[in-house]
Symmetry: C2
Subunit: 222 residues, 2 copies
């Protein structure tokens, strides 16, 4: 069976789980504690990041960006990258925005400090990083809300990888209770639409030892 | 005329310059001082990063990763992403390796501290970042050398985006005199092959106010 090596609160793993489910591709999940640097895993993915996808034919596909491009080429049904060149630029631009800029400015400061440091045993959250993360998140929610107000989905008229990348990051932050949805009702409405998709259900069922998500986390009508 | 907004010692800009030249696509270069946050540029690329490609038809393509995927789809001649699914995974894996892991561990610590801080006027190099950058660079040169020894090009039997991504990062470090090529003769031989390509000539001619590259920088037989 196709296997995805992942961490439950890794936004990149979550994005790939959403994409696999949207493409109706069955897969097994296996937790990979990358900080243990398991030799068999380093052979699949020398960068020792999550996620890595292992296909039934043995092909190992590391890195969520590489996995999503691979899945689009290998399984073109239910396309998630857009059709025209211009649409594909906008989908990939926003994918890079959330996995790059948003990740650096928000996710690394909040999820990195509160979750990754704890599970890998390397210390306590840094207060100035948390402050920066919360401040940056407000700005990003405004931008996300503006996109959601002016378009049907984030990159245009079709749901795309841009939506799944953004929703994956927001889902881990929401699990930690870090998202003040009152900042942008348009962003909240978009996220409610994302949460109600069947592909999202397994993410909402994730639980992590020692962390309880807020009550609204799995509530589709929050 | 197609325009690439860039910075001369930005590895991402250099990668796109190489790819455009390899695909024989003519373009104008325009320096973009992104820290000035020029409003017209933010319309092309809200993330305010370099590079951004602007096509004659007005399409703005920001982010070097997005640009390279776009160029491969819009101009499939001289393909640089590989043919089979497996080849394309390996090319994109190594592209992500150099633009992600190598960039975080090496380029950010050396180019970021010595060049970006100076041109954007935000301070002096941090000594511990430089030490980490040099130590990491040695490890990465060994990996690069191992790839170059066991394959014709970094990702396999054809030259690809993996080679241009790696060479772009190494070219800015080499400009700064930061690369000890004696660490890996195989890496040096591969880089000599890259430097001798016509697409590389404009990079070797770049000069930056206040910085002089070492004598071997533009020497094809260093």
């Amino acid at each position: 069976m196709r296997t995805l090596y992942h961490l439950p609160l890794c936004p990149y793993s979550r994005k790939v789980r959403l994409v696999l489910a949207e493409k109706r591709l069955p897969f097994d999940l296996q937790v990979e504690k990358v900080w243990e640097r398991r030799p068999e895993y380093l052979l699949l993915n020398p960068a020792a990041t999550t996620p890595t996808l292992e296909e039934d034919n043995g092909l190992a596909v590391p890195d969520s960006g590489v996995i999503c491009e691979y899945l689009e080429e290998a399984y073109p049904d239910n396309p998630l990258l857009g059709e025209t060149l211009g649409e594909r630029v906008e989908v990939r631009r926003l994918r890079a925005w959330f996995d790059g800029k948003f990740a650096d400015e928000v996710t690394r400061n909040l999820n990195g400090e509160k979750y990754l440091k704890r599970i890998s045993g390397i210390g306590h959250p840094d207060a100035s990083a948390l402050r920066a993360g919360y401040a940056n998140l407000r700005e990003h929610l405004h931008y996300l809300g503006w996109l959601a107000e002016t378009r049907k989905w984030l990159a245009g008229s079709h749901i795309s990888l841009a939506d799944f990348a953004a929703a994956a990051h927001l889902s881990v932050l929401d699990f930690q209770g870090d998202v003040d949805w009152s900042v942008s009702p348009a962003a909240r409405d978009w996220y409610a639409r994302m949460k109600s998709r069947p592909s999202f259900r397994p993410l909402l069922a994730d639980r992590v030892p020692g962390m309880m998500p807020p009550e609204h986390y799995a509530d589709l009508d929050f």
